[in-house]
């Protein structure tokens, strides 16, 4: 084993000697704890440690990357030389050499603010919480199955570049959830409760009050499975913040990734209908829509101080009053559309992965409406909470979303639950139907840690905030075979 400083020095020295124009090294020590309960039992408790280093080299406009979990001097030399060799080999197949846009040198450290370190909380306390939560769920007649889980992760990371930046990170993230499944008349349906994934301490779990929420979740699971199926037609939709976080992620987040718009993901995750020629002029949604990327908001997943290019986290507009005005970028792709600085959205999911453009913390800015007034102004509509089925095409036009819970709104009043609600549309047409966004008192945040992109696949982390939003005259169908 060699220490961090020795690794950094050894890697950067070899990169500089190779004649490469740029290089960096990331060393990451990750610790994660997963506690998962299912049907009144603790099925798994796992404490994982994952450490290693990744070396990125830019040689005559071509990238090379190599990484290893083996921390010996010999392996550090081998991996550094391999990254250099790969960059040199790639050079033969580069027709548009990479030129990184400039970024000031940063020397800094970033630490997540947490009241209670999740790894300091006794395991017995955590398993007891999950078992009691599941027991509470099963007290509700009609509940057949349950699950409950807690997750925590700490990443200690060092980033150092040949330009002189040296950054240290000690980042935490926490999440908890539970779910009840009701069975009725040959059908089954689940209702879930999720804390957001946030960069906080265990206080997130304590404040969520699982035991207080569990009876409601169980009762709604049973009500949901017994609820009438939605009738196909056009409805006004009132979407809650948790639900909107997924709609924003899929229909705004991914299309605003500049690498997708430039074709980098054409073979897998897809491209984007938000092509560079539309920047600054394309009407994405109604004037009520202001979608802002904010990687500076405390506690959010992408607010890490700096990204994996060593670029400072920032706040900027993606959609302003309905017009497409901004992309998520890194140092490689920003210059390709004439930008002189990266937006700092380059992130890798581990030491073993190369960073790429990821969705920022894109959120829907609050409006001025009150939720009760928004419902009162709906004659025939559906109120949707939480995440359900989701699917979208490879350019992010045609989407389809379900949800976790649905209520029929009739004549300005939220009435009974519905089941199997699916709405679908074309992204800019859908956002164009938004006629009201609730005020800041309704704003909530939800994080994602399983955003899939890249080959080999990586999981991106980001937070999407929103207040309730109303969409008029949206096509709804029942989600079942033959519908």
């Amino acid at each position: 084993m060699i220490d961090r400083d020795e690794v950094v020095e050894l890697v950067l020295c070899r990169i500089k000697e190779s004649g490469a124009e740029y290089g960096d090294v990331r060393m990451v020590e990750s610790r994660s704890q997963v506690i998962y309960g299912e049907d009144r039992r603790i099925a798994r408790v796992q404490d994982s440690e994952d450490s290693g280093f990744g070396v990125r080299v830019l040689y005559r406009g071509a990238w090379g990357f190599a990484s290893s979990s083996v921390l010996t001097a010999g392996e550090v030399r081998r991996v550094s030389d391999l990254a250099i060799a790969i960059a040199k080999g790639s050079n033969a197949l580069v027709n548009d050499p990479v030129t990184l846009c400039p970024e000031p040198v940063h020397v800094d450290s970033v630490v997540t603010s947490a009241r209670v370190d999740p790894f300091s909380v006794p395991l017995e306390e955590k398993t007891r919480l999950l078992l009691e939560t599941m027991e509470t769920l099963h007290k509700q007649a009609g509940i057949a199955r349950s699950s409950a889980g807690l997750w925590a992760r700490r990443d200690k990371k060092v980033f150092a570049s040949t330009e002189g930046s040296k950054l240290q990170f000690d980042l935490l993230a926490v999440e908890g959830d539970f779910e009840a499944t009701g069975v009725h008349d040959g059908r089954f349906a689940s209702r879930s409760f999720n804390t957001p994934h946030l960069r906080t301490g265990y206080e997130l779990i304590t404040d969520a009050q699982f035991l207080k929420e569990a009876p409601r979740v169980a009762a709604q699971a049973v009500e949901k499975v017994k609820a009438p199926e939605v009738t196909a037609g056009r409805y006004d939709l009132l979407l809650d913040p948790e639900h909107l976080s997924l709609t924003i992620h899929e229909s705004c987040g991914h299309p605003s990734e500049l690498d997708r718009a430039l074709g980098y993901e054409a073979n897998y995750a897809g491209t984007s209908f938000l092509t560079p020629d539309k920047l600054g002029s394309f009407r994405y949604g109604s004037p009520h829509i202001n979608l802002v990327a904010d990687n500076t908001e405390p506690d959010t997943l992408a607010a890490t101080g700096y990204d994996d290019d060593g670029v400072t986290c920032q706040r900027w507009d993606i959609i302003r009053e309905g017009i497409f005005v901004g992309y998520c970028t890194n140092r490689e792709v920003a210059p390709k559309i004439g930008h002189t600085r990266s937006r700092g959205s380059n992130r890798a999911d581990s030491w073993g992965s190369v960073p790429m453009v990821r969705i920022a913390n894109i959120g829907l800015e609050p409006g001025r409406s009150n939720v009760d007034d928004m419902i009162a102004d709906i004659e025939r509509g559906i109120y949707i909470e939480g995440h359900g089925s989701f699917s979208i095409d490879q350019r992010r036009y045609n989407f389809q979303f379900g949800g976790d819970a649905f209520w029929l709104i009739e004549n300005g009043k939220r009435t009974h639950m519905l089941r199997d609600v699916i709405y679908h549309g074309i992204t800019p047409e859908f956002w164009g139907k938004c006629d009201a966004v609730a005020d800041a008192s309704h704003r909530r945040r939800f994080g994602f840690i399983t955003c899939g992109k890249g080959q080999p696949g990586q999981s991106g982390w980001m937070t999407h905030a929103a207040a309730h939003a109303r969409f008029r005259n949206v096509s709804v169908i029942p989600g079942r075979a033959g519908a």
Binding site: I86, D96, D393, A481
Partner: protein, 470 residues
């Protein structure tokens, strides 16, 4: 097909060459862990993987990576209490620390009523899980194949995006019960999207052998599709006769396999409730797994150490077998069958049993080709692949997804027009009950699934629910 002359014996040469942990090194590691642990039972699993991916887009390499990750997981149990710890640091002190962490968790964890002691020693039949060409490929060979795909697309006036990937792994399991398993495995992947303006074509393969990926042939397919797909026309959504190529069929088969778990079945939260022993798809279709198939990626053992086993899951359209974890299998007095490696879907002519068909071999039976399926269709839609498949209704397994990288109208037995992509909304139960004809099984790879051998199928009344903009 794999060259049978290649030495695929598990000699560990390639493992040594990549600096992976050898069988003997793993045995010594296991001895240390098992000796260190105070648990009533201790189980450890090793995953030592070295590999890389060359990624290209816009006719150039945009990402070229190589990673070596060695990780060990240890589960310690006292009675029915258990805990698991993992680490990537293999120093002796780090391993002792990992065992201590697992022990500490186990001592305070609640008893698990479904706890299962690790398996006793098992007998494993060696499978050809490693191919030397892949094990020794390295970045040079990946770049070479990427260049081939790029140059072919460029020569056709198209833009290429895709990957060439290869990896070699050492996988090991050991337990206090005496269980010991070790297997080197290789895997190679190729996929390419050929782009012509707004149109695209796609092809892919996954194989143990990088040289068996068929890069030139697959690239030609992608180029042909992209050229055919130029200038798509929009037609209304609705129910159509479709011909789904094997990649699209994989997108319907994969969820069926995922949802076959027996625990959900017995707890009444499975779409298979009431369907065991009943007809769930066309009587001519039989789904099995064939771990020894030379073009599939069967492993010698699963994550708990159960030996590879070939089973028939759906026979002549009838659901015969669920995926039983060890606890549920014990509860229901059946043999555990948690894994589903190397899926193989064979269409058997009516009146002929599976054994006779297998004895003849699919290649000797008179299956129509994909072209013949098209020629037999008066009006229908040919689908290359699906994308972003998600469950819509867990009770009846309704799924949704998009068509991708080549959708074509068939009229009077010929492809006449490229079409704008559709969203679809369908249950595999329903789709596979409406099968009209099928080809012999062949390689089936899609972006979100693992390698299978599946036929292309002609299916009536498939539900396209909306169209998109391209």
């Amino acid at each position: 097909m794999t060259d049978p002359s290649i030495d695929t014996g598990n000699t560990g040469d390639a493992v040594n060459a990549e600096g992976l942990i050898t069988r003997e090194q793993f045995r010594r590691l296991a001895d240390l862990v098992l000796k260190t642990s105070e648990g009533d039972q201790t189980f450890l699993s090793l995953h030592d993987v070295s590999g890389g991916t060359t990624r290209f887009a816009n006719n150039q390499i945009v990402q070229n990576v190589n990673t070596h990750r060695v990780s060990l997981a240890v589960t310690v149990s006292f009675g029915r209490q258990q805990g698991t710890a993992t680490a990537t640091d293999f120093g002796e002190d780090a391993i002792r620390e990992m065992v201590r962490r697992a022990t500490d968790i186990a001592r305070v964890s609640p008893e698990d009523p479904e706890y299962m002691k690790p398996l006793p020693p098992q007998e494993y039949v060696p499978l050809k899980t490693i191919q030397q060409d892949t094990a020794f490929a390295g970045p040079e060979k990946r770049i070479m194949y990427a260049a081939e795909a790029i140059h072919r697309c460029q020569a056709g006036g198209l833009t290429a995006a895709g990957i060439v990937a290869s990896s070699v792994a050492a996988v090991g399991l050991a337990a206090k019960t005496g269980l010991f398993a070790y297997e080197p495995r290789t895997e190679a992947k190729f996929s390419v999207t050929a782009i012509s303006g707004e149109a695209s074509g796609w092809a892919a393969n996954v194989h143990r052998s990088i040289d068996a990926l068929g890069v030139p042939a697959r690239t030609r397919v992608a180029i042909h599709k992209a050229k055919q797909a130029a200038g798509p026309r929009e037609i209304p959504p609705g129910r159509y006769t479709v011909i789904l190529e094997p990649s699209a069929i994989a997108c319907l088969i994969a969820p069926m396999i995922w949802m076959m778990d027996a625990k959900s079945f017995y707890k009444r939260t499975s779409p298979y409730e009431g369907k065991l022993g009943r007809l769930i798809m066309d009587r001519r279709l039989t789904l099995s797994n064939q771990t020894r198939h030379p073009d599939l990626l069967g492993n010698g053992f699963n994550s708990e150490g159960l030996p590879a086993e070939d089973l028939v899951w759906i026979q002549d359209g009838v659901l015969k077998q669920l995926r039983y974890d060890r606890y549920t299998a014990q509860e229901h007095h059946v043999h555990p069958s948690p894994a589903f490696d190397a899926p193989y879907l064979l269409g058997t002519p009516l009146g002929q049993d599976l054994a006779a068909t297998e004895a003849a071999g699919a290649e000797h039976l008179a299956y129509p080709s994909l072209d013949e399926l098209i020629a037999s269709t008066s009006r229908g839609i040919l689908v290359t692949n699906f994308w972003y498949i998600r469950e819509v209704n867990p009770t009846d397994m309704t799924l949704t997804g998009m068509t991708r990288d080549g959708v074509f109208l068939i009229e009077d037995g010929q492809i006449t027009t490229p079409l704008v992509n559709f969203r679809w909304h369908e249950s595999p139960f329903r789709a596979f009950s409406n099968v009209e004809a099928f080809t012999a099984p062949t390689d089936a790879v899609s972006n979100e699934n693992w390698k299978m051998q599946l036929p292309a199928m002609k299916i009536a009344d498939f539900n396209f629910s909306s169209v998109t903009r391209f």
